[in-house]
Amino acid sequence: MLDFKDIQGNILLGYRSFWKARFLYFKFKTGPEGAKLGRNFLTALLDQRLITPADWGKNKPDAATNVAISMAGLRALQLNSETLASFPGDFQEGMRARADDLGDIGESHPEKWDQPWRSNDVHLLLMCYSGEPNILNSRCKDLEDLAAGMLDQLQPSQDAGKLVIGKQAVPSPKEHFGFDDGLSNPDVENARDGTSDADVGNLDSKGNFREVPVGEFLLGHRGEGGEVAPMPKPPLLVHNGTFLVMRKLQQEVVRFRQYLKEEAERMMKVPGCLPDKVAGDVCKVQEYLAAKMMGRWKDGSPVDLYPDAPAGHQTNAFSYHGDEDGARCPLGAHVRRANPRDSLGFAGQIVNRRRMLRRGITYGEFLPEDASPTSQEAQAERGIMFLSLNASIERQFEFIQKQWMNFGEEFKQGDDGDPITGTRFGDGHMVGAVGPKRGACDAKGRMVIQGDQRTGRIPYVCSQLPNFVITKGGEYFFMPSMTGLVLLASGKVSTK
């Protein structure tokens, strides 16, 4: 049984009703005195019960705060060298150092990132959430006041929150491109009612869904392979902790909408590449094209189940069995890459160890559909604070990013990368598995919408895809358990 009082909140259980967030960034002061002040700050957070565990007890709090620390932060806290050396290489190097592998080049190059990400100075991350903006402000102010004198706060902080679209009273589940988001998180073993009904786990050998072992997302527990993943030392520090990947991903909404508009017009000039019900209506063609790129319709219904029109059915319980040729959901569609389910054969076993828990949240204002592309609001920054939790950054997040998002070989798509999030550089080339340095990859930003032999619909090649998503910052963090935090605050982390 999991100890939910020990596990930080927002890992196994998402904060659904806390729709406003602010991320506060801090740097520990230098030297032994700085480390001591850092520990004092952690102690104060714990003493004042400001860190929210997964188990809220009897009363739901009106705000939540969670904490994560980067490798630079652990070094600044002056942990013993054996403990520091026992953390995995991906985490030790940090996100900036692995930019080439992640496809963070060109427009996404770390030199072009926003502050405070242009250096490795983000030592400590406080993630604050609430359903009430005033309460969130008050909580953040309390935390900033508490940190003053003990830590150096880095600016700017990052506001985020679910989108408010039009005159809706309720925050929307949509992201900026207009798709309902967060629909396919894995169902985690023993996570109680933490996941929604729509969540499903991994496929078993009979094609049924089963829960994913918690060890894929939490250190010190059994994972998909039946083993406990290698852990940093000492176990007390890392048990019930996890690794957090945070990325500030700017979404180029104007570019995306413009592309859909232009490509839809080009599509309409190719007889036979669209279903009859869609072919004559430019709005429907745009909607169809966007859905084929994403693998879900904007309302969340899976393209694999509903290949020609949205159905308002946000199910997650589907596989690609029977659609091996991509006639329903294109082989290179975003959601089919991010979670290929049974696409890659072997009863899903190739995919099972590449799952992540995503807790991303949008930032910036939603751009109304009728906004002028040259208006001030169209130029405003908007995107998603991508947050993913995994037991191994390299095996889970980095593998997906490198092999499935920025390369297409596994999906029989050659060098073609993800149509939504793939990195194109220079003259439109994809990064490819050979890496950007060699210049050996000359595929353009391209996506094939496979044809359907049953209906006679012919294939269509979407061409000249630009970057729709640009990395503006990010880091790898360690999210300790409550016990781990107490140990860190005590200054007595020891491998002896």
Binding site: G414, R438, A443
Partner: protein, 196 residues
């Protein structure tokens, strides 16, 4: 059959590294470490018959069972593994000598009894003397030569571009345009190794 799979030949060879006061071991390690700094990639990627190759230096062997035991080697060894198009070592020696000759000298001059490149048969015999039998090796396309794979990649990309360019063109003339593409592909030389 040992060393071969289809039209591929796999070489595994251990070359003793020279001892003495001239630091051959350090120099060789340093040279190999910097081979990939070339923006075009490893010089082996430019050798027209090489599919895959790997260098490693073996400086100690430790048996890690119980009790652990250190095997004393007579010298340090350069391990060179390579699979290429051919049925024996001679084509590889010829291709490496002509297409990365300076690299061959800079690597193997640190090895015991390197005869130089002046006489190809001597160099082939030298490699054969240091060769180990390879019984199992990775061979992704046993029947395809490097040039055929490069040509295949070129054709695949050209065809993808053709589809993209022609999907909005009238059907009339499509066959002629495809024939023109086909002829163009037949006329083009195979891409240079390492260029794809």
């Amino acid at each position: 059959m040992a060393n071969t799979n289809g039209d591929k030949y796999a070489l595994t060879a251990l070359f003793p590294i020279r001892g003495g006061d001239e630091n051959h071991y350090e120099q060789l390690r340093s040279y190999l470490r910097n081979l990939d700094k070339d923006p075009l990639g490893s010089p082996l990627s430019r050798v027209s018959i090489v599919h895959m190759a790997r260098f490693a230096i073996i400086d100690n062997l430790i048996y890690q069972g119980l009790p652990a035991k250190r095997d004393r080697l007579k010298s340090r060894y350069l391990l060179f593994m390579c699979d290429f198009d051919g049925t024996g070592l001679d084509p590889l020696i010829g291709a490496m000598s002509s297409q990365m000759g300076d690299v061959v000298d800079k690597v193997w001059e640190h090895c015991v009894a390197y005869p130089g490149r002046a006489k190809r048969d001597l160099l082939t015999a030298y490699f054969e003397r240091c060769q180990l039998t390879t019984t199992l090796f990775f061979c992704d396309q046993p029947e395809a030569e490097v040039s055929k794979i490069l040509r295949g990649l070129m054709a695949k990309r050209a065809f993808a571009q053709f589809v993209e360019d022609n999907q909005r063109q009238p059907r009339a003339g499509l066959k002629q345009r495809f024939e023109a593409l086909w002829q163009d592909l037949c006329d083009r030389p195979a891409p240079k190794p390492g260029s794809m």
